[in-house]
Symmetry: C2
Subunit: 391 residues, 2 copies
């Protein structure tokens, strides 16, 4: 009677969810909890967002809550295009932008729109967001995971080997979840060189799907849009992190107008989004985005957290990957057993996520989108953790 | 490179969309337009909605825009369950309710959660919303359309014949889009009798999927929740019509706790919703629904429109199905050629939709969720239409 695969996915509590529930129990028992498990921004939305939302919600305009076009208000899409063009030298028009309920529908639709045969493969660069392979499987294609180097940077030799005549696309996620790594210019050039080379070999487009929800969350390095590097690009974006609106589900998918068959790709994405049951992105937050397309997050707070946490953890003796972006930091398990690190930490009230499922074997992820006090208060527990792990 | 089926779906302008664009051109040219094509409620949301939204949006609570649980806030789901229980004598808890981005994701997920083999069939009672068969195909099952009687009421003999060992579910939509027909008690009893009989024959559950976005939009007849009639029910609901919030994408899917394997069905739906790329329903409108679960639409305005339009059209000489609910009225083409009626009407500025694709062959749909003046002003054009059609 019931699809067993979906039942398994629905019932399956992710490791993050299990940690969340453990934390709830601990709090009830009055024990300290330092929750670094979730990517829920603790920084408030930019002032522009709160102002726009309050004004729009109180204005009671006649047509405020009506259905929008499937791709969204043209004015919102133009505002998004203008902002991207200005910052990254792109040439997008509103007709290249499709407003979505966050980045996930864009990714999910891209996998559908690209799939022609069940043999089709989508290549994932590690480390990666664990929903990618599930989404790809559910869209009827095959996920191919490319391992990263020991320091969690991309392994381009492995990428080259993974691409074959079935490969439709490669997913890139920088700033990266879970590592916080941001591809520098040299890395981006290497990536594009591989894609261009393989594209020439295959004699057809090889698509780059770029998942950029953390684009604006960068420290000491410039923000970057990967669409500027490569023509055959589908860009998936969410305002969840940059405008601190994860629960409101607003983002977009953009097709590079320079892509081969760009217009067809846009309409295939549109068809996929419709078939996934999406009617339009929430109207009120389309209006908010229209007014706040150029708003930027309060990066200072995250940067402060990063420096504090990274400094303290390395002082204690932990080996960490210093993140240049997002709000995650990866800590290395000395013996490669990340589950043990997470388990021992849990007993001290520190909730951190083993990253083996993220393709970062032997690491745990620390989401530092928390109050500064939480980090400060957690340091003695991290000291104790180091002791226990090295007993 | 691109999935051609999705490209076709994405590029395919629906007949409604084509009418919409025609109307835009006509308006530009300064010609009169009486737009009865879209199901966009013209009645403002209940006061409770505007008040709650304005207050919540200006309160700036710390956790306002955070990710909610996948199924939604427990408090919202409890408020929804309480309202349904009170009105329809159900026994729902928050754990039976899953907040969704409108009714479509619930329907789409139900088709996925029920599909085990590609032979699986979902039966659709005519007339029907044309997204149903597309969604079912996209979920990998087969839609089986059961024709209705000439007066657009359900044909239960045809339904009986359509159900076989591959049938997983039957979709019911009352109040109906496009006919406005509301199943009365006798009809509901007949429906349930067929399902119970077939269920007994098959020796396994036969699911009723009930699509109820128009539940509260009824005139002179009581509102009804089909879950009260039948245990093996999945209920798909949207606040698009009842709270006039179509662009905000808020609704829910509910599993009858009396359903066989109810808990597994809930988690399979949850898995499907996750795999379709949904993360949660918009947080702010979950909060609005929590406060306004018992709010009711301003039915007076729709009722007035219905009486006015139905009265005038029958006075002119048209044959119509008098609707008891929703905000649609079906007008019969004398010669069965609904496309001709729509085309001749178009030239007079009347935008009405041929219903052959809705399984109501020979009818056009008039969406009367418009200003009363629009109806009044359109009457001379309808008179002219009658003349032209009967020349």
């Amino acid at each position: 009677m019931i699809n067993q695969e979906l039942l398994k996915i629905g019932k399956g509590r992710t490791v993050i969810r299990r940690l969340f529930e453990y934390g709830k129990e601990r709090r009830k028992a009055g024990e300290p909890v330092y929750d670094f498990s979730l990517g829920n921004p603790n920084v408030q939305p930019p002032a522009c967002v709160n102002e726009a939302l309050a004004r729009i919600a109180t204005e009671h305009r006649d047509s405020l809550h009506e259905y929008t076009l499937g791709p969204g208000y043209e004015s919102t899409r133009q505002a998004v295009a203008d902002d991207l063009n200005r910052r990254f030298g792109l040439e997008l028009g509103y007709a290249n932008i499709f407003m979505t309920c966050g980045a996930s529908p864009g990714l999910r639709a891209a996998f559908e729109a690209l799939r022609e045969r069940k043999e089709d493969e989508i290549v994932i660069l590690s480390p990666y967001f664990p929903e990618y392979p599930l989404f790809i499987n559910n869209a009827g294609a095959t996920p191919i995971i490319v391992p990263c180097k020991d320091d969690l940077t991309p392994d381009f030799d492995a990428l080259k080997k993974a691409i074959n005549e079935n490969t439709k696309a490669v997913i890139v996620n920088s700033p990266n979840n879970p590592s916080g790594i941001v591809y520098d210019e040299k890395t981006r050039k290497q990536l594009v060189a591989v894609l261009e080379e393989k594209q020439a070999e295959l004699g057809r487009p090889l698509v780059m799907i770029t998942d950029e929800p953390y684009r604006e969350l960068v420290y000491d390095v410039p923000d970057h849009c990967f669409m500027a590097d490569y023509d055959n690009t589908i860009l998936c974006y969410s305002y969840s992190k940059s405008l601190s609106l994860p629960g409101e589900r607003i983002g977009y998918v953009a097709v590079n107008p320079k892509m081969q068959n760009a217009e067809d790709m846009y309409w295939a994405l549109s068809g996929a989004i419709r078939m996934l049951g999406y009617v339009c992105a929430p109207a009120i937050f389309q209006k908010v985005v229209e007014e706040c397309a150029s708003a930027r997050p309060n990066i200072e707070q995250y940067s402060k957290n990063r420096n504090l946490l990274h400094g303290e953890l390395t002082r204690i003796g932990f080996e960490c990957v210093k993140p240049d972006g997002a709000f995650y930091l990866c800590l290395k398990a000395k013996d490669g057993n990340s589950v043990r690190v997470s388990d021992v930490a849990k007993k001290l009230g520190i909730l951190i996520v083993p990253c083996d499922e993220f393709g970062a074997k032997g690491f745990v992820r620390i989401a530092y989108c928390v109050k500064e006090e939480t980090i400060k208060e957690s340091i003695p527990a991290f000291e104790k953790l180091y002791e226990l792990l090295n007993e």
